[in-house]
Amino acid sequence: MDNGDGKVRIGFYVCHCGTNIAGTVDVASVAKYAAGLPGVAVSRDYKYMCSDPGQDLIGEDIREHGLNRIVVAACSPCLHEATFRTATARAGLNPFFCHLVNIREHASWVHSDRAAATAKVYDLIRAACGRVRHHKALERKRVNVRPEVLVVGGGIAGIQAALTVAESGKKVYLVEREPTIGGHMAMFDKTFPTLDCAACILTPKMSQVKAHPNITLWTYSEVAAVEGFVGNFKVKVRRKPRYVNEEACVGCMECVDACIYKEPKFEDEFNQRLGKRKPVYMSFPQATPKVVQIDPETCLHFKTGKCKQPCIASCSRNAFDFNQEERFEDIDVGAIIVATGFKPFDPARSPKYGYGHFPNVYTSLEVERLVNSAGPTGGEVVMRDGRKPKSVGIVHCVGSRNLQTNRWCSKVCCMYSLKLAHLIKEHTHAEVYNFYIDMRTPGKGYEEFYNQLLEEGVHFIRGKVAEVTDWAMTPEEEGKLVMRVEDTLAGFVRRIPVDMVVLAVGLEPQADAQGVRRMFNISCSSEGFFLERHPKLAPVDTATDGVYLAGACQGPKDIPDSVAQAGAAAAQAMALIDKGYIEMEPNAAFIDSEECSGCKSCIPLCPYTAISFDEVTVKATINEALCKGCGTCVAACPSGSIKQNLFEDVEIFSEIEEVLANA
């Protein structure tokens, strides 16, 4: 819209954002200042520009004053750039004539001196008004979105996400690193606060995944590489050899019985090394897929080549394949849901608790297996020395809320500690002591569960455990583990002798989270959990379009939260796919072939191979569909012949000039 006269007519709007901006920045004088800038035809300040009346203001002014540029000084473009572009477009002006200036996150919220903050805003709006003069009408390009979804991680979050997407009729690939899906939840006995059996609610979902016609389940597999972009990801999945043909095996377990090792001899990872398994094994009876596998590290055949391989003979379905090799599957998907979960804190990092030193110090996850009737002790809470504990101390916040280890609250430990206290007491009638810093039980039915525990006679001692020691000072401490703690409610230091110590370990990012996030091109927050696009308004999105987060990979979460987030991630992925296309930000680079000398300097710089050399014109050309708009080639073009929409040299130069023009 150029009103025929080619003149730039800028509408300038400064947002109060309540007092968020107006509290620190003199918005009235900003509006006055802007009114004096070249090309500014209308200048206003308004309470909430993002509100409907605020947006309408822009539209009315465009129509009434023939505005052809819009500058809004408000919050970060990451938040409301789309809002104001849309408002601009509604009034018939190309949305890319609108520019947002960040004076909240970058000014009012980080400065306290009103004069200095206002002066800074003057500079920023001058730069914006300078830049928009050079803006052009641009069109978003459309890219089709493939209808398949990849879910990475088969814990409860991944399962829920996969099922939700599959139910909607979309094809899902569910990739799980372990031999079975189920994740941590499959290891739990009961779930808080309802104490319903974890297996009872999880395993039907696991079977559903296996049976669902729209889900391709690949366990014992990992994502090896991700290329492409939203709607069009190319993913390479590494499928590790399990030496058993998954299609043939029905999980009858005949081979496990037949194994040359008559007794289970090797540490069972699923049971937290509290039990034993054979080289041929299934993680647990409800493992999904219900398929055995061979661990080459312990299998006699792989170690010596001299095993008679009774397993092969025992298998009526001829499922064994000792020559199986790692193989790769290439898939194309439109969206990716990352649900890679967490890692429990390793309490060996806090030696004061004696984990690994005293056999009767356990992690909470180990105790989950002990109280589980499918666990190594058949649900009996017995210690490594075979005794039943008469007294148990549960230490909260191990590896959480601590400057030496992890600073964050792991959110679930208070509640699962209460659950374990209840279960231990139920199984053993032992005295159970909870050592806590603060009890954190927000959630439906959670506080009530805490009250129930108080009534059950579980002891609660507020204080951080200083040390777990076997150094007895009194006869009744002999042979016990003594927990030294300052009871901060009673106001003195106590020594409490117990038979068994349970460490309520916190939740940490997976050890390979950094590698995973690089593969998916997403960010981590400072503690290493994957970073959502916005903590409140985009909690399952990531900075990379088409990649969503579910479950504890984004931060500590309990099962209800993980399931809810998985549903949200699935909904986001489905929204993307159902639309069928996405509109890309029109910030691609382009080459004017009249100007290009064909020096080829740009060609190796593009990570997406969007630039190629045209042997006919002997010049470089950019494939707009592949360009992601980083602008690296633009900065490197030695003759200034590559330009980037929205970030043209002339736009940036005018920002530089204007932002400094107050001298």
Partner: protein, 172 residues
């Protein structure tokens, strides 16, 4: 140096890491010196050395470039390209008498709001110690030796205006 010297910093921040980190500093209300003016680019790889020189020529006392940490670039390797240019530009600026601390490259991830605060505060202190660069003022000083001579009739264009600018104007 005037008592009240407030350095002016032009900051080129990449959209995905450092600009987001500056937003986070805002959301977290991490108050810091108001001297930096952030210009948003999609990637530190978009930082053309011309931008840095132009910022100095237009009166910046310091230029700060913020990008994603190595291996973390949203565009895979833009930050490396930025780093490579920066290494030689830094040396060239040194040869041109621009102090090292006036031009700084920092890797700041989206979660490092506190680093935005620290780096800006630190740079402001360092620039205060260095004093103003004030290239526009120096250009004026240098040109005093020719200002006394008459200028041609079309004095519209200042002597330091690059002809490229004019040519642009002519083509526009």
């Amino acid at each position: 140096m005037p008592e009240t010297f407030e350095p002016r910093i032009v900051a080129f921040f990449c959209n995905w890491c450092t600009y987001t980190a500056a937003d986070l500093a805002g959301v977290s209300r991490m108050r810091h010196a108001p001297n930096a003016r952030i210009i948003r680019l999609m990637c530190s790889g978009r930082v053309d050395p011309q931008f840095i020189l132009e910022a100095f020529a237009r009166g910046a006392d310091g230029v700060l470039i913020g990008g994603c940490h190595p291996n973390d670039c949203h565009y895979i390797e833009g930050n490396y390209k930025c780093l490579r240019r920066f290494r030689l530009l830094r040396r060239m600026l040194d040869d041109m008498g621009v102090e090292e601390k006036r031009c700084r490259l920092e890797w700041i991830s989206a979660s490092e709001g506190d680093k935005v605060k620290r780096v800006i505060n630190e740079m402001v202190e360092q620039l205060k110690a260095l004093g103003p660069l004030d290239l526009p003022g120096r250009f004026r000083d240098w040109d005093k030796e020719v200002a006394e001579l008459e200028h041609a009739a079309s004095a519209a264009s200042a002597p330091c205006d690059c002809h490229a600018h004019k040519e642009e104007a002519a083509h526009a």
